[in-house]
């Protein structure tokens, strides 16, 4: 068994701040990873839009030099 330690305010603040900052950092990291995936979706969507535009009837004549 470990005894509960009574710690004063100035000693508790770093622990409380550390816990909350760690949590926010974790959520931000998760969101950053999700944002990267969203960026990939956006890129693929742009590729698809490009593909659809090239396939549009008359696009060939338009693109020809």
């Amino acid at each position: 068994m470990i005894a509960l330690l009574e710690i004063p305010l100035h000693q508790a603040v770093p622990y409380v701040a550390g816990a909350y900052i760690a949590f926010v950092a974790l959520i931000l990291l998760y969101l950053a990873i999700m944002a990267t995936k969203l960026g990939r979706i956006e890129r693929e969507l742009a590729e698809l839009t490009d593909l659809a535009t090239r396939r549009r009837p008359g696009a060939d004549e338009h693109d020809a030099p």
Partner: protein, 262 residues
């Protein structure tokens, strides 16, 4: 589909989390024993409860997947477990910081609540490697569902076993909350629990939206006759999502409109 009303949900979550923080730090009094350090309680305990509920939801979604063979349920289960693992890391980190401040050690192996939570985390840490180890998407989804159900059942059993254990060093929260927590503590705790649940739901829907959009894109790419290599999903731990009516099981070689978001 999942992105519908995501913005108001996200705004509500943000408002709830902000209110919780303000009340926890400026309205709830300091604990007589632990003083200011007890503020970690409003983060750590709701986070742990939401994590465990997320694992249980993952199991329930897996049951629905096995019953219906609808790949959307597999995706729901996968995202729930994935997100709960992220939250679980938060629980372990905040718990260790609290333990260091309160007990003077980062970890105590004689504390059943800590060890049992770690066991649950280690159990679920094998979920993604298990999925990745199985190449056939249909079999992967089926095995992953069986795992999610078994592990999901382990969560409440584990909780009860810890309750029945004799060491009561870890603070007890559920079950006797009205007796243990005075008025303001209780209000902030419940608000924090709601905020954390809202955060989990928002992130779950956010990830589901992303996965669904990715699957739709892949299906569209295939329909437009894009790159053949892209049409066939690479080996992945992420479920193969059926786009469309979607109540049928799908395989990598199936003719159905499937996509494997990564």
């Amino acid at each position: 589909m999942y992105g519908k009303r995501l913005r108001p949900l996200a705004l509500t979550t943000f408002a709830a989390l902000t209110l919780t923080l303000v009340l926890a730090f400026f309205w709830a009094p300091n604990d007589a024993n632990q003083g200011f350090l007890q503020k970690i309680f409003y983060l750590h305990v709701p986070l742990a409860i939401v994590t465990l509920c997320g694992f249980i939801y993952g199991g329930l979604a897996a049951i629905a997947h096995l019953r219906t063979r609808d790949s959307r349920w597999d995706m729901r289960s996968y995202v729930a477990i994935h997100l709960s693992l992220v939250f679980g890391v938060g629980v372990l980190v905040t718990g260790s910081i609290w333990a260091k401040g309160s007990w003077g050690v980062w970890w105590d192996w004689s504390e059943p609540t800590l060890v049992s939570f770690l066991l649950i985390m280690l159990l679920y840490a094998t979920y993604q490697p298990l999925r990745f180890a199985i190449e056939d998407p249909e079999r992967q989804a089926r095995y992953a569902s069986v795992f999610a159900i078994t592990a999901g059942a382990f969560v409440p059993i584990n909780f009860v076993i810890v309750r029945l254990s004799t060491a009561y060093l870890h603070p007890r929260v559920l079950g006797n909350i009205s007796a243990n927590l005075p008025g303001r503590f209780q209000i902030v705790f419940y608000l924090s629990l709601i905020s954390m649940a809202l955060l989990w739901i928002t992130l779950w829907r956010y990830e589901m939206t992303s996965k669904h959009a990715s699957a739709q894109l892949r299906a569209l790419k295939r329909a437009l006759g894009g790159d053949d290599d892209e049409a066939l999903p690479r080996r992945s731990a992420v479920p193969t999502l059926t786009i469309g009516a979607g109540a049928t099981p799908t395989g990598r070689g199936s003719a159905g409109r499937t996509g494997a978001p990564r």
